[in-house]
C-alpha cells in the first residue's frame, strides 16, 4: 500500500508540480477515464463463440443390399399369356423383361395387346376398338397381365375379364404408386383395391425410405422360398382374399396414420387373381436384389399354371395344338379339308381321319343321320337326335332346316360335334365357324343352334 501511495504522490507531484507534467498527465488521465467509462457503457462482456461441431462426414455409410444369383429349371408347358397394352398402360416391355424371360423358360407364349410407342409405353387404342381386341385376345389366353393402366376399364371390359377369371384364367394386376393408376377400375371387380400413397420405412430400407424390405409372407405358391424381397416404391393393397406379404412395424403409408401391416402382395378371393403393388422390383437390375428374382419366378409359375377352361365361343382356341377331323360320311370330305385349312390359320395341326385318335381333340362333322357315330358323346352331353333334337338347353327342336354345335370336354379332350340336316346347311355352319358368326347362335357355354331361314 505504501509504495502505491508513494507512487501516486510522486505522479501528482509531477502532474501538478510542473507545466510539462500537467500537459502530459492530465489529458492522458482523462482520455483513459473516458475510454474506460465508454467501454463500460458499450461493452458489458465478451463474445464466446461456440465450438464448431465435428460433422463426421467420414462416418457416413451407405450399405447396399446384395445382388443374388437365382437359377431355376421350371417345367416346360404351353399356353398363351396376354399383356394389356391397350389401356394407355404406363410401362415398357424392357421393364418386365425379367418376368417375360421367366415365362419363356416355362414355354409360355406372350402376346401384347396394343402397339408399343416410340416414346415408351403404348400407342393409344380407341375405346371402341378395345373391347373387341380384349375379347379376341382373351379367347385364346390362359393368363392376363394388367400393369398400370392409364385408362379405366369399362363395365363391358370388366365383365370380359371376370368371365375369363371365372373360367380359370389367371390374372396378374400390377399397380405402381409412381405411375398412372386406373387399375382399381378392374381390380375392384375382384375385391382388390390398390391404395393411394406409397409405403415407406425410415428405419430400415435399401438406401431410400421408399425402398422397403418385406420379410413376412403368407404360405402360398407365390411366396414359396422367399426370405427377403425389396419393393422400390410399393403401394398397399386391400383385399377380400389373403394377403401374401406383410410389412413390418416400421413401415408406414403416406396416407394412412398409425401403424398397421400393409400388404404389397395379395390374392383376391379367387385363387387365380394376384395383385402386386409395385412394378419396379422386377425392373433390371433391381430384379436381382435379394429374393426378387425368386418372387418373379413364382409369379411366372402362377401365370403359367393356368387351368383356364374354354367354352364354345372360344373356338378354335380350345384345341391344344392338334386335332382330328372325323367326317360322318365321305361326301363331306371337301368340308373336312376346309375345316383343316381354317384350323391351320390358328396354328392348329388338324388331320382328316377315319376315326378318332385316343387322347386327341376331335372335330366331328356330319349330318343328323350320322349322329349315331358320336352318340356316346352326345348322350354324355344330354343330347338326343331322332325325330326331334332334344337338348338340356332348349325345347325339342325340329331337325329340319337346322344345325347344332356341341362342345364337350372329356378327360382333357375337347370334342366339337357339328350336325346339320343337309350338306348345304353343314357347309354354312362351317363358314360361320370360320368367320366367327356362330357366336351369335350360342345358347349355352357348350351348345349352339342354327335355324336357317328357308327351313320348312
Amino acid at each position: 500500500m505504501a509504495p502505491l501511495t508513494s507512487y501516486l504522490g510522486s505522479m501528482a507531484k509531477f502532474a501538478f508540480g510542473s507545466a510539462l507534467g500537467r500537459v502530459l498527465v492530465i489529458p492522458l488521465f482523462f482520455a483513459a477515464a473516458y475510454f474506460l467509462v465508454a467501454l463500460f457503457i458499450y461493452y458489458r462482456g465478451t463474445y464466446d463463440p461456440p465450438a464448431t461441431p465435428d460433422l463426421q462426414f467420414e462416418e457416413i455409410t451407405t450399405p447396399l443390399s446384395a445382388y443374388t444369383i437365382f437359377t431355376e429349371q421350371p417345367e416346360v408347358r404351353s399356353g398363351l399369356l396376354v399383356i394389356d397394352g391397350a389401356h394407355n398402360n404406363d410401362f415398357s416391355q424392357n421393364e418386365i423383361v425379367s418376368l417375360l424371360s421367366s415365362l419363356a423358360n416355362r414355354g409360355i407364349t406372350v402376346d401384347i395387346m396394343g402397339e408399343p410407342s416410340l416414346f415408351g409405353g403404348f400407342q393409344r387404342v380407341d375405346a371402341s376398338e378395345r373391347f373387341a381386341m380384349l375379347e379376341s385376345k382373351l379367347r385364346q389366353a390362359g393368363s392376363l397381365i394388367v400393369i398400370a393402366p392409364g385408362e379405366p376399364y369399362s363395365k363391358a371390359e370388366r365383365g370380359l375379364v371376370r368371365r375369363f377369371v371365372e373360367k380359370g384364367g389367371r390374372l396378374l394386376l400390377i399397380g405402381d404408386p409412381t405411375r398412372s393408376q386406373q387399375i382399381n377400375t378392374l381390380s375392384e371387380e375382384f375385391g382388390l383395391s390398390f391404395q393411394p400413397g406409397f409405403l415407406y420405412n425410415q428405419v430400415e430400407n435399401d438406401l431410400n425410405h421408399r425402398n422397403i424390405f418385406v420379410r413376412d409372407f403368407f404360405p402360398d405358391p407365390v411366396t414359396e422360398g422367399l426370405v427377403e424381397v425389396v419393393f422400390y416404391t410399393a403401394g398397399a393393397i386391400r383385399s377380400a382374399g389373403p394377403a401374401l406379404a406383410y410389412t413390418d412395424g416400421n413401415t408406414f403409408s403416406t396416407i394412412v396414420e398409425g401403424v398397421e401391416p400393409f400388404y404389397p402382395l395379395a390374392k383376391a378371393n379367387q385363387d387365380n387373381v394376384l395383385a402386386v403393388g409395385d412394378l419396379t422390383f422386377m425392373v433390371p437390375p433391381q430384379n436381382a436384389i435379394l429374393d426378387n428374382n425368386r418372387l418373379i419366378a413364382n409369379i411366372a409359375e402362377f401365370l403359367a399354371s393356368s387351368g383356364r377352361g374354354f367354352e364354345l365361343s372360344d373356338f378354335p382356341y380350345f384345341f391344344d395344338g392338334a386335332a382330328d377331323i372325323v367326317l360322318g360320311r365321305p361326301s363331306l370330305l371337301e368340308l373336312g379339308a376346309g375345316m383343316r385349312r381354317t384350323l391351320s390359320e390358328f396354328q392348329i395341326d388338324a388331320e382328316v381321319r377315319n376315326s378318332e385318335s385316343p387322347g386327341k381333340d376331335l372335330i366331328f362333322l356330319g349330318l343328323y343321320d350320322d349322329a349315331v357315330q358320336v352318340e356316346r358323346y352326345l348322350s354324355f352331353a344330354g343330347i338326343q337326335v331322332g325325330e326331334t333334337v332334344r337338348t338340356p338347353f332348349t325345347p325339342d327342336l325340329d331337325p329340319q332346316g337346322g344345325a347344332i354345335i356341341s362342345l364337350q370336354v372329356q378327360d382333357g379332350r375337347h370334342i366339337l360335334i357339328v350336325l346339320a340336316d343337309s350338306l348345304a346347311n353343314l357347309t354354312d355352319v362351317a363358314d360361320q365357324l370360320d368367320s366367327g358368326r356362330f357366336r351369335d347362335v350360342i345358347v349355352s357355354d357348350s351348345f349352339g343352334i342354327l335355324v336357317f331361314p328357308d327351313a320348312g
Binding site: P27, F35, A38, N94, Q202
Partner: protein, 356 residues
C-alpha cells in the same frame, strides 16, 4: 496589450489549464474509442426476403456475410430469412459461411414466413434461431433430379464413350446412394448443431416434415419464438454489448456495389448531360457487346434502362458480365456442336410445398 497579458496569465493559471487539458483528454479518449478501437458497437441487420438459394443468391448473401465479418465495428448479426431452400451446394456454402461468421461474432437468425430445407441448413449455422409462431420451418432432406433411368441408356453407334457409366455418371442405385449420403450429411449438420436441444429422433428429423414455429420450438429445431427486436437483443446479449447502433447491411452492400459500378461508369460520364450521345453510346456499346441486355429483350437503349437492368434483383445482373460461351454460360452455347443434351443431375435442399 495589457488585456492580452491578463488573458495569458488567466489561461496559464493552474485551474483553467487543468480544465482545458482535461477537455483535451476527453476528446482524445473519445476519438480513440469511437474512431480507432473498439468503436461504438453495431449490430448488422441483414434482411433476406423470399429467396431461392442458387449460385447467384448465395453469392449475394455471401457478400453480405463477408461485409459483416470484415467490419470490426459490427459485433453481432441479425438475419431475417425467408427461403424454401434451393440448390444443394450453394445452401451448404451458406451454412459454412455462417459457421465461419459465427466463429467471430454472434449470429441470430429470425425465421420469417418460411425457412425450409437449404434455408434451414443455412440457419443451422447461426448461434441462435428464432421463429414466429406461424413460421414454417424444417423440411430436412434432399431432392436429386433427374435420376438416371432404372434401365441403363442404350449405347450409340455414333459416340465413342469411355466407361459404361461415363454418360450417366453411375447407375440409378449409385445415384440413390449419393442421395442417401447427402441426406445423412444434412442430418449430421442438424443433429450436431442442435445437440441436446433436439427432442426428435434422427428418423423423425429426416422425414422431411415442415413444422410451425411453435412445433419447431417444442421439438428443439429452433431456440425460441420471437421477431427482429428479440433477435437484436439476443445478438447484443451474446456479443456482450449495449447502446449499440444498427447497420442496414443490405443498404451498405448495395452502396458499395453502386460505388464499384460508378468507378466503371463514371469516367464515361464527363459531360453534364449524363445521357450525352457519344459517351453513353460507347458505354452501351461496351455492355451490349458483352451480351448484357438487362432482361434479355434486346439491346439496352439508354443508360437508365441499363442501370435498372444491371441492378435488377432477378434476371440478368452484373453477375452475367462474362461473355456468352464463358464462365456461367448456357452449356448449349458453350459447346454448340456437342450432340448430347447436358441434363445434370442436380441436388436440391428444397421445400416444394403442397401440390395444387
Amino acid at each position: 496589450m495589457n488585456k492580452l497579458a491578463a488573458l495569458g496569465h488567466f489561461i496559464g493559471s493552474w485551474y483553467i489549464s487543468t480544465v482545458l487539458l482535461a477537455a483535451v483528454g476527453l476528446i482524445l479518449g473519445s476519438s480513440v474509442f469511437f474512431f480507432a478501437y473498439p468503436g461504438k458497437p453495431k449490430i448488422g441487420v441483414i434482411n433476406i426476403p423470399f429467396t431461392v438459394i442458387n449460385d447467384r443468391s448465395a453469392f449475394e448473401i455471401g457478400a453480405m456475410l463477408d461485409y459483416v465479418r470484415n467490419d470490426n465495428s459490427i459485433k453481432g448479426v441479425v438475419i431475417t430469412l425467408t427461403s424454401p431452400g434451393g440448390s444443394a451446394a450453394p445452401s451448404e456454402h451458406l451454412y459454412f459461411e455462417m459457421v465461419k461468421l459465427r466463429e467471430e461474432k454472434p449470429v441470430v437468425m429470425v425465421m420469417d414466413e418460411l425457412v425450409a430445407s437449404g434455408g434451414f441448413m443455412m440457419s443451422m449455422g447461426a448461434n441462435y434461431t428464432l421463429a414466429k409462431p406461424a413460421s414454417f420451418v424444417g423440411s430436412v432432406g434432399v431432392i436429386l433430379s433427374p435420376l438416371p433411368p432404372i434401365l441403363p441408356r442404350q449405347p450409340s453407334e455414333r459416340d465413342a464413350v469411355t466407361g459404361p457409366v461415363k454418360l450417366d455418371g453411375g447407375t440409378r442405385r449409385h445415384f440413390v446412394t449419393m442421395t442417401e449420403q447427402l441426406r445423412q450429411s444434412f442430418a449430421a449438420m442438424v443433429i450436431a448443431e442442435r445437440g441436446d436441444k433436439l427432442k426428435m429422433t434422427r428418423n423423425e428429423v429426416l422425414e422431411g416434415s415442415i413444422f410451425s414455429g411453435v412445433e419447431a420450438m417444442q421439438v428443439g429445431l429452433i431456440d425460441g419464438i420471437g421477431g427482429r427486436t428479440e433477435a437484436i437483443e439476443k445478438a447484443a446479449s451474446l456479443a456482450g454489448i449495449a447502446n449499440f447502433d444498427l447497420v442496414d447491411v443490405n443498404t451498405e452492400v448495395s452502396r458499395i456495389f453502386n460505388e464499384k459500378l460508378e468507378r466503371i461508369d463514371g469516367p464515361l460520364r464527363f459531360s453534364s448531360d449524363p445521357f450525352n450521345g457519344l459517351n453513353t453510346a460507347a458505354f452501351l456499346s461496351l455492355i451490349n457487346g458483352l451480351g448484357i441486355d438487362g432482361r434479355g429483350t434486346g439491346a439496352a437503349t439508354d443508360r437508365a434502362t441499363l442501370l435498372e437492368a444491371l441492378f435488377a434483383p432477378s434476371g440478368d445482373s452484373l453477375l452475367t458480365l462474362p461473355p456468352p460461351g464463358g464462365i456461367g454460360a448456357d452449356p448449349a452455347e458453350a459447346l454448340p456442336d456437342f450432340p448430347l443434351t447436358i441434363t445434370g443431375p442436380k441436388a436440391y435442399y428444397l421445400y416444394v410445398g403442397p401440390s395444387d
